[in-house]
């Protein structure tokens, strides 16, 4: 794993979500050498955890399949998973990144046959499902996982379970002696595409996330709707497993709020509009969605989508930032607030409340890349001071998938400009 051949004509892409994969593939398909790093054990990132995309209602895994096929066919991209950059030194055209590789405890012999998972008894939270369900401590991160290889959860290392996994593997794929490694990778340019994380909803105290089981986040809701998710795609509420039919969507849960995130996260309105489709899809007769909003930001062509949802009688729009949520005796979350279009107070019980949580750049607060300029929300700003480090996707702004891919493609070109300059200098 340590023999990554990289030179100062290599482009280092940090983050293996849709932006990072795009930047890596676009650069590689233009003939450049790329090293793609991903922190998790599999590529795909946050979009791979979505059930559908707005506005087409198509499936993110479909695009992921294409990107993975591009990757499998392209020898110019070297993928390292469970890899985190801990430092970058040098300047444009001549960087050295220090990369920490966490042990997988499973080597490339793994055939993904699943015998280790059958042998292991311990169950751990499943992060792919935002911990809404459990998985075996020997696991394949998701059905679309690439590399398609199992992982042993570090918590079982040194236990009998790990030994059981090792004994079950006929192919010598389990290596319990793997240790964390640190390697150095040369690169001419760096594309920083570490994406975003959902804003910590527990910080929005009046909404009771963490206190009330039936208050969940929009990203968790995606897992409930997905056939690969913890409920096999049925929208069941966490408290009692009851089918949720009357669902509230609360916009700007964290975003546009000086107490939380200053910026507008752009995608949340559309995500909620999309999620009303899930409700109707499962309960065409009696599904009900209520969207509480400040402004519906269905920008450009997405307006069509908004208009279609507006025309749907099962969806109600309330111009209001919900003030607080309580829980009634049946475990129903109750939204309290005032509809500001004409001052109407409400206290509406719902089966389930979905918080359209804002987007926080994962790069926020990370000390690397060292000299990079950030804006007040923690996104990477385009700035000459960044040298050969380029922000891409949601590391650079609150973007939807389409714009993230555009941004990543642009970042790939900027990186190519740097390495081409190196190449010209060397001739």
């Amino acid at each position: 794993m340590t023999d990554v051949v990289a030179t100062n004509e290599t482009i280092l892409v940090v983050g293996g979500g849709i932006s990072g994969m795009t930047a890596a593939l676009e650069a590689a398909e233009t003939g450049k050498q790329v090293v793609l790093l991903e922190k998790n054990p599999a590529l795909g990132g946050r979009t791979s955890q979505l059930y559908r995309y707005f506005p087409k209602m198509c499936h993110p895994t479909c695009g992921l399949e294409i990107n993975l096929r591009r990757l499998k066919a392209n020898p110019r991209v070297r993928v390292l998973t469970q890899a985190e950059v801990t430092g970058i030194t040098g300047s444009a055209g001549d960087y050295t990144a220090t990369v920490k590789l966490a042990p997988r405890y499973v080597n490339e012999n793994c055939t993904a046959c699943g015998a280790c998972a059958d042998a292991v008894k311990t169950e751990v939270d499943n992060p792919f499902n935002y911990n809404l369900g459990k998985m075996k401590a020997a696991y394949i991160p998701s059905a679309m996982a690439y590399p398609q290889r199992y992982v042993l959860h570090p918590s079982i290392i040194g236990t009998a379970d790990a030994e059981a996994a090792k004994a079950a593997c006929k192919y010598g794929a389990i290596d319990l002696d793997q240790k964390e490694e640190t390697i150095e990778i040369k690169a001419g340019a760096v594309v920083w595409a570490t994406g975003w994380q959902p804003y910590d909803a527990a910080k929005i105290q009046p909404y009771g996330y963490g206190r009330y089981k039936n208050v969940i986040t929009s990203v968790e809701f995606e897992r409930l709707a997905d056939p690969h998710g913890p409920t096999g795609g049925r929208i069941l509420r966490p408290s009692d497993g009851k089918e949720a039919k009357n669902i509230a969507f609360i916009q700007c849960a964290g975003s546009r709020d000086e107490n939380h995130l200053r910026h507008c996260s752009r995608i949340c309105c559309m995500a909620s509009l999309k999620q009303t489709h899930y409700v109707r899809e499962q309960h065409p007769e009696d599904g009900k969605s209520t969207i509480y909003y400040i402004d519906i930001r269905a920008i450009d062509r997405f307006e069509d989508f908004y208009q279609k949802v507006q025309a749907d009688p099962s969806v109600t729009f309330v111009k209001s930032k919900v003030a607080r949520i309580s829980e009634d005796e049946n475990g129903n979350p109750v939204c309290w607030g005032v509809n500001t279009e004409g001052y109407k107070r409400y206290s509406n019980p719902h089966d389930l409340v979905v918080l359209a949580v804002g987007m926080e750049p994962s790069v926020k607060g990370v000390a690397i890349p060292a000299n990079v300029v950030f804006d007040s929300s923690g996104f990477i700003e385009a700035d000459p001071a960044n040298g050969g480090v380029f922000g891409a996707g949601c590391a650079s702004n609150a973007l939807d998938v389409n714009r993230a891919v555009q941004s990543a493609t642009a970042a790939a070109l900027r990186a190519i400009q740097v390495v081409n300059k190196v190449a010209r200098a060397e001739v």
Binding site: P206, C252, R256, D257, E258, N259, H260, I294, K319, S320, K321, V322, A323, R324, W336, G337, V338, N339, T340, Y343, R345
Partner: protein, 218 residues
């Protein structure tokens, strides 16, 4: 002014400017984005006295509805719980703006006359500045012996007093209530100093906020 022009004048920013100049924290009014979390968070928002909730008042100010805003009993409903301030995504000091507006309406003499909070505040203020200390006995007596219209009503005062007699006895026992306070009562030490302080404060306030000649147009 034709009716039309008068109507149109409403959305001119003159009243907003007046509020910005005259009302404590009034310069924040323009920052509201109409999310409504303030009125939703208000623990008294169920009360019919909230004719217009805060975000609506802000919009009315921007729409130039001077008369309706200043004569509204709404801002007098605020109990200073500060929930709205804590939750406002734009960090508007809503509680202070409510008080500022109430105070301004009061200064202009257009606040609703018998609004209970206003009546209480007036009573409290005159009670407090008289000696530099609040005389609780006089304050509660003053409240008991007034009816809803603000007129003195002996019968009602006795009725209210009797209803509260157990509390009063308890306070007496705990030596928290001294019936002799009715005669003058405690005073603070430097009476003159207090008066001078209040005078100076008034002067400063008047200097900062010269009252406009007439309502809307400046």
């Amino acid at each position: 002014m034709s009716a039309n022009q008068e109507m149109a004048a409403k959305y001119k920013n003159s009243f907003l400017k007046e509020v910005e100049d005259q009302v404590e924290m009034g310069e924040w009014v323009k920052m509201c984005m109409q999310c409504g979390v303030c009125s939703g968070s208000c623990p008294t928002n169920f009360h019919p006295g909230w004719e217009h909730p805060p975000q609506e008042i802000f919009m009315m100010i921007r729409a130039g509805k001077r008369e309706e805003v200043l004569t509204s009993p709404s801002m007098w409903m605020c109990t200073s719980c500060y929930n709205c301030i804590v939750r406002c995504p734009r960090k508007l000091p809503i509680t202070h703006i409510m008080h500022g507006l109430a105070n301004y309406a009061h200064r202009l003499g257009v606040a609703p006359k018998n609004q209970p909070t206003r009546a209480f505040s007036t009573l409290f203020w005159s009670n407090a500045i008289a000696t530099g200390r609040v005389n609780e006995l006089k304050l509660s007596m003053g409240l008991y012996f007034k009816d809803a219209e603000g007129k003195i009503n002996i019968g009602e005062g006795i009725k209210k007093g009797l209803a509260m007699k157990d509390v009063a006895l308890g306070l007496l026992k705990a030596r928290r209530l001294n019936p002799f306070e009715i005669f003058g009562g405690h005073k603070c030490k430097d009476q003159k100093g207090i008066a001078a302080m209040l005078k100076k404060a008034r002067e400063l306030e008047d200097k900062r906020k010269a009252l406009p000649q007439s309502g809307a147009s400046r």
